[in-house]
Amino acid sequence: MIIWKQQGAATVGDLTLADGRRANVVVVGATSNEKGAAIVIPPSVSGAPAETILLPAGNFLLHPWHRLEVICMQERCFGTFGLPRPELEAG
């Protein structure tokens, strides 16, 4: 399960990738927007930049059930199907 928080206009999730690394997924737009979500992987070496990978290019890094969760969060925040809006704490 992804732990979601609201950070300004972005919805940010904390998760473990399929390869075991911790990362954030940042949701800023609908699934139809190719820049609507990205995975941000913290640097493994201090001082190095974080790695940012747009979905769907980074989908392979996610567990499939996390991918479903990201799609749902994009739809709930930015979609048009009328899903319930998430009630998230500010991060």
Binding site: M1, T31, N59, H63, P64, W65, R67, L68, E69, I71, C72, M73, E75, R76, G79, F81, G82, L83, P84, R85, P86, E87
Partner: protein, 285 residues
């Protein structure tokens, strides 16, 4: 006295809970459907003899969820149009709607959403062969939490404590049930499915929807598909309770046989069916 949870499933069913019997009307209709000598007319007449079931069946058939594009006014017409297998699942659905009538709105929405998610998943290439029909898959979802209704009826104080532990300790609902009662809704719901003589795959799917290893390997794919449907509903905002704890592991995912390449299409089809939730809710409320 150890202070641990008080029940196991046998003690619970012997001493506390009386599982509701399958309604006589449904037994009669199911027997007719399973009888190779009965005609569609016999079945239609048997359904028509039960006005509330006939009424609900026709409302489901004519709902936007079903999308037939033509009004079906009689049970005879529905039987001819849809065939016996579909009608059997529809009658069962109508019966379940009666059984959960009056349950909390959130519970009903979750049950219906899970039915729709199951129907969506059952139409994927990997799952299509496992289910007789999308209607059958819908029933798995509709029934999966029915054990909660039974536990709530017989053990309301214990269920209130379950709610507190979910809220205060962040436990998943079934984990809190096991801690407080000793038995969870999946076990109770599965026992009801067995008592109603539903397909053993339905009973096992219900039993294993929080832990597929509870059930035989041949039925783990059904339990796993139900677990994914449950997860999808929670992620989409139709969880069984606010801030529902979502759980999934690789073994459960693998047991579904679902390809990650299908996820966008599955989610999109599920979202498209969201208006059906309110449509079907009117049948159950």
């Amino acid at each position: 006295m150890t202070g641990g949870p008080p029940y196991d499933i046998d003690v619970l069913l012997d001493e506390v809970v009386t599982l509701p019997s399958m309604p006589e009307s449904l037994i009669r209709i199911t027997d007719l459907i399973n009888d190779p000598n009965s005609t569609m007319n016999d079945i239609a007449q048997a359904i028509a003899m039960e006005p509330s079931i006939a009424f609900k069946t026709l409302r489901i058939v004519n709902s936007a969820y079903y999308g037939l594009g033509q009004e079906v006014k009689t049970v005879e017409h529905a039987v001819v149009l849809l065939g016996m297998k579909v009608i059997k699942n529809l009658v069962l659905t109508a019966t379940v709607f009666q059984a959960i009538e009056g349950a909390a709105d959130r519970f009903l929405k979750h049950a219906i959403a899970c039915g729709i998610a199951m129907r969506t998943l059952a139409r994927t290439e990997s799952a299509r062969a496992k289910f007789d029909s999308a209607e059958e898959a819908f029933l798995y979802g509709l029934l999966h939490d029915i054990g909660k209704v039974i536990l709530e009826e017989y053990l309301p104080d214990a269920c209130a404590r379950v709610h507190e532990r979910v809220r205060d300790e962040g436990l998943a609902w079934h984990e809190a049930e096991q801690a407080v009662i000793g038995v969870d809704h999946a076990e109770v719901g599965s026992q009801l499915a067995l008592k109603w003589k539903l397909d053993p795959a339905v009973a096992d799917a219900i039993a294993g929807h929080h832990d597929i290893h509870r059930v035989s390997p041949e039925h783990q794919c059904y339990a796993a598909t139900l677990a994914v449907a449950n997860y999808l509903c929670g992620a989409a905002g139709y969880g069984a309770y606010p801030k529902a704890v979502l759980q999934m592991d690789q073994a459960t995912w693998d047991a579904t046989g679902l390809s990650p390449d299908t996820l966008d299409a599955v989610a999109s089809r599920f979202f498209s069916a969201i208006p059906d939730i309110d449509d079907l809710l009117m049948l159950a409320a």
